[in-house]
Amino acid sequence: MSMPFYVAPEQVMKDRADYARKGIARGRSLVALVCEPGILICAENPQRLRKVSEIHDRIAFAGVGKYNEFDQLRIAGVRHADLKGYAYSREDVDARSLANQYAQILGQIFTHEMKPMEVEILVAEVGGDPDADLLYRILYDGTVVDETSVTVLGGEADTILTRLEGAWHTGLSLAEALDVARRALSGPDRDLAADQLEVALLDRNAEHRAFRRIEGAQLAELVPDATIADPDGGAAADPDTDTSASDDRTDGPPAG
């Protein structure tokens, strides 16, 4: 039996981090921002596999990277929240403890397993007013970032964040917030249409379950360009859509 070569721990961690980062950067990005009606989460996602979903009454989950990995985390989060709500009370289910649980799991997998999880996730909790909103971004190695007002997940996070921070201000309406999110995701060279977006809102004024998807006709109404482009029925007719279609192929399967 041959002895394995010695590899410095720094190198091991660096290799794992690079591996995870590369996996995450392959997928499309997702933004979340605090606005007047609640927390808006908007992902570039032409597929029907969801990146954004409901965890509990006031908590949503979003993930980018490898679909099967963040979906496993999503389901674990739903289970955690429902079990906690059953054992104690629905009011006791909170985003902070869930974010900590995710951080523990991701940190442990990053250090102890062969392969780190190629995911970056968001746990968002809507509060009574915008100051009480919580956005926890959790990285592949278990790092938790407590964000205020806006956050970006996925590849190209820095450039998207610059665009997002430039356009964001307090008191955005739903339509304005969606416009800010869509422009930040699109960038200067293209214009994302409604059918390329997955949008959900944690509704601040909801009585019970705050999570609702904004899709179909409602989304088309809020995204001005899509209402014109859609009835023409030609994604191919639109040169902008063409560019993103070719992006699809380079993205490969792990895009999720």
């Binding site: 965890i55 674990a76 955690h80 429902d82 079990l83 059953y86 995710y102």
Partner: protein, 273 residues
Amino acid sequence: MNLPIFEPSDDPGPSFTSLLHRSGLEPPTLSSPLDGSLPITHGTTVVAIRYADGAIMAGDRRATSGHLISHRTIEKVFPADRHSGVAIAGAAGPAVEMVKLFQLQLEHYEKVEGASLSLEGKANQLGQMVRNHLPAAMQGLAVVPLFAGYDTRRATGRLFQYDVTGGRYEEQNHAATGSGSLHAGTVVKLGWRDGLDREDAIDLAISALFQAADEDSATGGPDLVRGIFPTIATITGDGFTRVGNDEVADRFRTLIADLSVPGASGGTEGSAS
């Protein structure tokens, strides 16, 4: 509470009850007969009626322990999810627990799977829960629910009745369960016609509960002194909506005014004259 992550082969899937079982939080099942002298709280009469826009569920507010009234304001009609409701009769403790679990079961499925169960699927889930409760029912803790919902795929209200073994029976037009169900059911049966509107359906439910309370000591009538009235809810395409207490109170007053016999004093039955 830690993050429940399972091996794929051991995964409980979208079922919340399986998850409880795996997590060791499942309520213990009753293994030995209850001591007959233990007071058990019982909930009584609930009815469900199909009408033009969907279904109506109504229940009185009384819970009894033997011959005592143990609660005057218990709730027996609950939303199960957005488009369905569940009403309970039987041992109150296990019944309320069953409702809580059933609500979570539906919500958990919806969140994990990203889609709601069909109405049929929900009715079957409740049937399984009642069946799993059979050992406790044999010890005197029977729970007999009613399930009603608006079937968004068929665009109609649907009603389901159960027995203690978990037997599930779909009723076309109306259903009743609990100690006063014989009287309440008869009133509904006589007053029901196809295409009832909301107001008539509410009046029918109110009348049924009033007559049940009149004949059955375990069913609570309207309490005008304390302002306690039955719980009534409508389930339509717009979802589960509770009928306001003021509206129920008004309709009860109208009913009572209609029933009052001018100049009558004392009972009409067996009056010794």
